[in-house]
């Protein structure tokens, strides 16, 4: 079974040379730490920066330079700042190549819910609705089950949707899955996890074809 860093490590393998990438809050943020350093990738943050670098050294924080998680950041050579309208021009106009975000639920048709638990948690969708409605290439990073042990990969989302039919790939602590028009297609198992265990943890239709290889996350 993978921990959060393991999930991030596996997703980092989906990041290709020349990609502009938007990382959501949580596990997705960790992905930046594991991207191969022999490829060129630029990170976009929807609050208005392209070319994000690592966190600043202590004492070098600038209140005017943050990411969408409101964390102080630095920029790399070639970075640029822009306003929110232009930021979402990049996103809505499909100039961002890959979007990685967390989810509370994903349905087998690619629907995603990650912004609201009615009556309980109403923080808002932030940029997530624009991201999922626009991106061609969306990977969800999440735990396979919730804290109660219930599957987060469902036939149908129970929570208010963030977007419809948009998720293409899911990387969880148990597996890598592709969203197909027949359901979740199992691509890879996490190290030490059996197909049986994945089946049990998946409420939505699971498609298993042939031998399922174990992930390589070295």
């Amino acid at each position: 079974m993978l921990d959060k860093n393991g999930i991030a490590k596996r997703i980092a393998k989906e990041v290709k040379d020349g990609y502009y990438v938007n990382l959501g809050i949580g596990i997705p943020t960790l992905v930046a730490n594991f991207v191969r350093d022999d490829i060129e990738v630029e990170f976009q943050s929807e609050n208005g920066v392209l070319g994000m670098g690592p966190f600043p050294y202590q004492g070098e924080e600038d209140a005017d330079i943050i990411n969408a998680g409101k964390q102080t950041i630095t920029t790399l050579p070639g970075a640029s700042f822009f306003d929110s309208a232009m930021s979402f021009s990049m996103i809505r106009g499909q100039h961002v190549d890959l979007t990685i975000l967390g989810a509370m639920e994903v349905a087998e048709n690619g629907d995603i819910a990650n912004w609201k638990i009615p009556g309980k948690m109403v923080k808002g969708m932030g940029g997530a609705m624009d991201l999922v409605a626009s991106a061609e290439n969306i990977i969800v990073a999440m735990m396979h089950t919730n804290k109660k042990g219930e599957s987060k990969l469902l036939k149908k989302c129970s929570l208010p949707l963030t977007g419809v039919g948009c998720v293409k790939k899911i990387v969880t602590n148990l597996a890598v899955l592709e969203v197909t028009n027949k359901g979740f297609k199992l691509l890879e198992r996490a190290p030490g996890i059996t197909v049986e265990e994945i089946k049990k943890a998946t409420e939505g239709t699971l498609i298993i074809e042939g031998e399922i290889p174990e992930m390589e996350i070295a």
Binding site: S45, E46, N47, G48, V49, P54, F55, P56, Y57, Q58, G59, E60, E61, D62, A63, D64, I65, I66, N67, A68, G69, K70, Q71, T72, I73, F81, F82, D83, S84, A85, S87, F88, I91, R92, D111, K116, G119, V122, K123, G124, M125, G126, G127, A128, M129, D130, A133, S134, P160, L161, T162, G163, V164, G165
Partner: protein, 232 residues
């Protein structure tokens, strides 16, 4: 040169009255009009509708107006860092309209640019689309979103001149440029007000035509919400 300079923060909020709709720039606590917010608290205006991406934190930014119960309705994309906000919302004291972030930015920009409405894919098939027109273009579904209507826009820039020209710094730019000229009156506060002619006309982010009042802000706290650092 048409002079937009005002001398005091009191003049900045002149004309703001109960029940008005205000736009306020900023993302989190970054690039917020600190001086104008503080003065709105002092002014004590009530029943405001505030269009702002976030709602501040409990004791800073728009949180200050929330504490005083001056806000009737918030229009935001994300409001997750504010306990008082959550309390007022769950108790029904505060009306909240959650809007996708890109849609929020463009609804401001549409008001600035004279577009009454536009089609966007964000929110199609979700709660956000309820009561809105949906429409297909080139095989993809979109919803119709309308321009905001606001009485005042309060924005914060880095540098500005007396003609109202503005330059922003870093990610403190965010929603501020989109809100300029998107309300009946736009009030800009700046960290540095320079004489006309000092700003390179090529570097101006927002021309003065979109700004009605400009003033030199004071005592910027520029609070950091999440101080993240690495070790050497």
């Amino acid at each position: 040169m048409i002079n937009k300079k005002i001398d005091t923060v009191q003049q900045a909020v002149e004309g703001v009255t109960d029940n008005m709709t205000l736009m306020l720039g900023g993302f989190g606590l970054c690039g917020i009009p600190e001086n104008a917010i503080a003065e709105l608290v002092k002014l004590g205006v009530q029943n405001l509708t505030c269009i702002s991406n976030n709602a501040g934190v409990d004791d800073f930014g728009l949180g200050l107006l929330l504490q005083q119960r001056q806000i009737k309705k918030m229009i935001s994309s994300y409001v997750g860092e504010n306990d008082e906000f959550e309390r007022q919302m769950l108790s029904g004291e505060l009306e909240v309209e959650l809007t996708p972030q890109g849609t929020l930015a463009e609804k401001c920009r549409a008001a600035q640019a004279g577009f009454p409405a536009f089609y966007t894919p964000a929110g199609y098939g979700t709660e956000v689309a309820e009561g809105k027109e949906s429409r297909e273009f080139n095989g993809k579904m979109y919803i119709l979103e309308k321009a905001y209507e606001a009485d005042f826009a309060f924005v914060k820039a880095w540098k500005g001149d007396e003609a109202g020209n503005l330059i922003f710094k870093g990610t403190a730019r965010n929603f501020n440029p989109c809100m300029c000229g998107a309300a009946k009156i736009t009030v800009a506060e700046v960290e540095e007000l320079v004489p006309v002619g000092e700003l390179d006309p090529n570097h101006i982010h927002i021309p003065g035509i979109f700004v009605q009042r400009i003033f030199q802000g004071k005592n910027y706290e520029k609070r950091i919400e999440q101080r993240t650092v690495r070790t050497r």
